[in-house]
Assembly symmetry: C2
Homo-oligomer: 420 residues x 2
């Protein structure tokens, strides 16, 4: 697949993420390669899968990948090795696939992507110190929570309202208090995005058991981009027990699950704590984790307004940030989540929270960037304190490391429609 | 069924709640009647179900009742009328059932109850003003949240760790800050119960749509008792975005879903607001709701310690309270939950939060009753500020109204095991 070798592709041979797609007919599992999708149902129907991999490919070809996730990362790695055999220049199975390329490769532009699996539970963490303190321009920093360096703070978010890249949604209604003290029910006036990154759980744990830090990576099937849309006015007025309707109207994820196996080369050491800072308690710390518990991934957010679209102006990059700004890693989130015996299930989503850095350009939501009063300037002269109808927000991400081919996550975008 | 006519039974002919049980073999759907369970699989196998009800009974006989819930309350009412025909003294189908009583009726004491359905999402509200302000004995009241009378405050809770009556669980571990400022990871030292009552969603709503207040009752399949176990030390230290690990180790529900149809006679007018209090916004208010939006149900909590059990002392009643103490009704919770377009799904659990009243005896958790410092006296001389290993907490509830036969909810109990 020539497009898999092009510089800048999200989906080189080193990636091979899993997703669920359709082309008019039934939804089925596929693997992204360059600009194409390897159609796993077609591989099976054409008898191009070696017998030893038949069962696994069958599971990965289903219309929902929960069962694949549940099989664990050894199965995912075995499957991946098989796909490399089919797609690599020197792959043992490449000849067969090449002869049937027209039947087993589907151009991504002709496919509709679906939610890749059923996300039973969605937990949203808050791991960026910059997001928490939100010291920006002339505004004073908020104090850091006293527990922030002791545990990854989190809340249960709503899983039913998660949709994939490309699904637009109406501006939500909600209750808010106006400046004059009156309380109204109206479409939100403070609609925001939040750039996040999430782990999809593979093997779960039994209720009452824990997942140790060094075992946590084996329970992560893969990763997706997450836009945790937020209605700040609804959120501010309702929140007494954490976020609820200010978030639950919609969350958008990228449709391709980049496997933990593909990201293995991008593991790096977490930023060490200073000697004055509290060190993590022993259940959240290990030599192996100190060596390579974190991931090297960078992200961007792009905004295109309705007027930009109508006048042919490309989306403007409004955020550039790095996963390194997060003070807690995904293995630490998994371990802490199960530290009380809470059971994670295959397909659960654990997101790291808004990935903000110290600079204005790395403020990963409008609340931090504009505070609702310092508008963001767009290339065509428009300004934004909050999102307006017709705005489209797209997240992208890339895992990068010296000596390795970059791998990407695909698009995570959605357009805002007028309120019902 | 003689036991269904005995005064004080939870399950008279007027109740007929749905549950899932097993007796050695596969789990299957049943209906509680007196001390027995009407075995729906057995009814089908013996051809005792009229053809017009066969499909519905088949759905209710499954090992998980999500599909039954999704069919809506007209289906549930039709099914109920069929069961009355089978079980009432003058029922048209009673003869057939009576002839096969030994095969279609299973004594509850011989059955193992299961979780009646898959609870995809669990939302916990906070609707008792007494729970929020927690004015008890010598302690000053906390101020009422400024939004409390404007909207039913809620948070997303964890659905995977819900188990049914009778399943014991170990004291959870967690992170907490000690009085000396040190942070430790240890078994909770402040384990508590919370008496709650929950609605199980029947028909859901599409993402982006809302459920109006007058339609909300049609989306509630039935009700269960809920013990929202809480580890107060974990909760106090972790909470910045609402409750998380301090709750997610376990929630216990009663295994029988008492249908909305069975509770229809127990609808009463919600307590009117005073003229100085804010009235609900129009989406949370209607003439029909003001007439009968609330339910008349009373509750008790019983505690039996290990020593009480060993010495033959009956469980002590430690809480007596009423659903009338809740300032928001279940229809209001459903409507508010979907007011931003959030989709509810069949089997979702919406709980009203701790049902505390003004008296010490109606404080529906230990945190309010003892504050950790004013111990509760038990009949055998033991005292409790928090729950200890071996303690067993059981909730019961009864819907009561002048002129109607009481109906109950069965047991919702669990014993605390030592920490792993």
């Amino acid at each position: 697949v020539a497009s898999a070798c092009r510089a800048g592709t999200d989906f080189p041979l080193q990636n091979l993420p899993h997703g669920v797609f359709s082309t008019g007919g039934a939804a089925r599992g596929g693997v992204a390669i360059g600009d194409e999708i390897l159609d796993l149902q077609a591989l099976l129907e054409l008898n191009l899968v070696p017998r030893s991999l038949g069962e696994l490919v069958g599971v990965a070809a289903r219309s929902s990948l929960n069962h694949l996730a549940a099989l664990g990362n050894d199965a995912a790695a075995e499957l991946r090795a098989g796909f490399v055999d089919m797609l690599a220049t020197d792959g043992a199975l490449r000849g067969d696939v090449e002869r049937h390329a027209g039947l087993v490769l589907v151009p991504q532009r002709l496919a509709t992507m679906h939610l890749p699996l059923c996300i039973g539970s969605f937990t949203d963490f808050m791991t960026s110190v910059y997001h928490v303190t939100a010291a920006r321009r002339s505004r004073p920093a908020r104090p850091l929570n006293d527990n922030f360096l002791h545990l990854p703070v989190a809340y249960n978010s709503r899983a039913t309202s998660i949709t994939q890249d490309g699904v637009p949604f109406p501006r939500p209604w909600g209750q808010r208090r106006e400046a004059d003290g009156s309380v109204v029910f109206a479409p939100t006036a403070m609609l925001d995005f939040e750039l996040e990154f999430g782990a999809i759980i593979g093997r779960g744990n039994a209720l009452g058991s824990r997942i140790s830090l060094d075992d946590a990576g084996h329970h992560i099937f893969g990763y997706v981009l997450v836009n945790d849309w937020s209605a700040r006015d609804i959120q501010q007025w309702e929140s007494r027990l954490g976020p609820f309707l200010g978030k639950s109207f919609r969350t958008t994820i990228s449709p391709w699950i980049v496997t933990a196996t593909a990201l293995a080369p991008f593991h790096v050491a977490p930023k060490p704590r200073s000697s004055e800072q509290p060190q993590p308690l022993s259940y959240l710390d290990s030599p192996a984790h100190r060596r390579d518990g974190a991931l090297s991934v960078s992200f961007e957010v792009h905004l295109q307004t309705a007027r930009m679209r109508a006048t042919g102006i490309a989306p403007a990059r409004i955020v550039t940030t790095e996963l390194a700004y997060c003070a807690w890693s995904f293995p630490q989130m998994v371990t802490h989540h199960t530290s009380n015996g809470c059971n994670l299930e295959p397909g659960d989503l654990l997101s790291c929270g808004t990935i903000s850095g110290p600079a204005d350009e790395s403020a990963a939501c409008l609340f931090e960037r504009t505070a609702g009063t310092l508008p963001l300037d767009l290339p065509n002269g428009e300004q934004r304190c909050w999102l307006e109808d017709g705005d489209e927000i797209t997240l992208i991400g890339r895992a990068r490391r010296e000596g390795y081919v970059d791998i990407g996550f695909g698009r995570c975008g959605a357009r805002i429609l007028p309120a019902h």
